[in-house]
């Protein structure tokens, strides 16, 4: 129970740090699924360096 609470707090602080994508227009972003705020289709992007793939729940 305590662990669940800690995970929830951790997730909540993580989501505060990231920003949801706004509706896409102009440079590089086209909404893939209108109405779904988080899903965007970048038409102009470049793979970044310095990142790790993570599965939430494993950490």
């Amino acid at each position: 129970m305590m662990e669940d609470k800690q995970n929830k707090e951790k997730r909540s602080s993580i989501s505060r740090r990231g920003f949801a994508c706004s509706a896409a227009a102009g440079l590089g972003l086209v909404a893939a699924a209108p109405g779904r705020k988080l899903v965007v289709e970048p038409v102009s992007c470049h793979e970044a360096d310095y990142y790790d793939s993570r599965d939430k729940g494993d950490d």
């Binding site: 920003f19 227009a25 440079l27 590089g28 988080l38 899903v39 102009s44 992007c45 470049h46 939430k56």
Partner: protein
Amino acid sequence: MSGWVQCRLCPKECMLAPGQRGDCRSRLNYKGKLVTLVYGKAVSANPRDPVEKKPVFHFLPGTRCFSVATAGCNLHCKNCQNYSISQLNPEDARQVADLPPEKLVREARRHECKSIAYTYSEPMTFFEYTRDSQKVAHEAGLKNILVTAAYINREPVKELARHADAANVDLKSMSDKFYQEVCDAHVDPVLRNLEILVKEGVWVEVTNLVIPTMNDSVDMIKRLCAWVVSRLGPDVPIHFSRFYPRYKLTGLPPTPADKLVQARDIARQEGVNYVYVGNMRVPQGGDTICPECGKTVIRRRGYSILEYKIEKGSCAYCGKKIPGVWR
């Protein structure tokens, strides 16, 4: 839940669900891959910037650089002078120029610039674009200047340092509380990165924006100067820059001239050999003084050079070597 990524570029290390972007606004988790939305997408480009404007005073003085910036920044300084681009989502930019590295370098050469300055917003945030452009610039014989808050992780800063020739690093305060409250960042990574840049052979100059009541105490300025002298060396120039009310810090007055002159005096007492006052004209504020004979070796007015008395990297009067990269 799968598909999350963790950005490792800057100390914020944002954890991003698919579709989320980082605190810098420009790095997005796209289907489990981290992508940058600003590669080669300039929101600001100036083909005729004097290097003195960056400011770098000991690096090819009197030459022009091609300045470029993209949208976004990993800091959110309440006093940001360029918030209209630094605090902007890339897709909200009204004007974006396609300026991939090769084209950027071509344009810089066409305008007879000696260098490219990655500036205005935050080159650490548009890391991949900066790095690739730096390489192409070097191949073409151009120099690279980073104008940065240096809030980035150790490995990427080392990677940028390999192809950087000069950097003006904004050291905003020695107080972590200031960095947290005003910039949404921490001071330690900045200090570490300053040391890395100097160690890697990049010509570094430090800017400190003096904000009334917030970072302008005698003690704070003393601490900053003492740190620069002891960790970077007495020959690293410091620019004390005048604050103007802007963005979210509009309730404070501009920095008074006497405060900037006082900061310059403190820096000299602490052993800094080259101290400048910027964003405001005060007597000899932009002049380079030989620390050996006390004569003025470069006299400036604003961004213009009125007198240049450096010969083969040394004072023309007494022969003392003046550190820097000279034309």
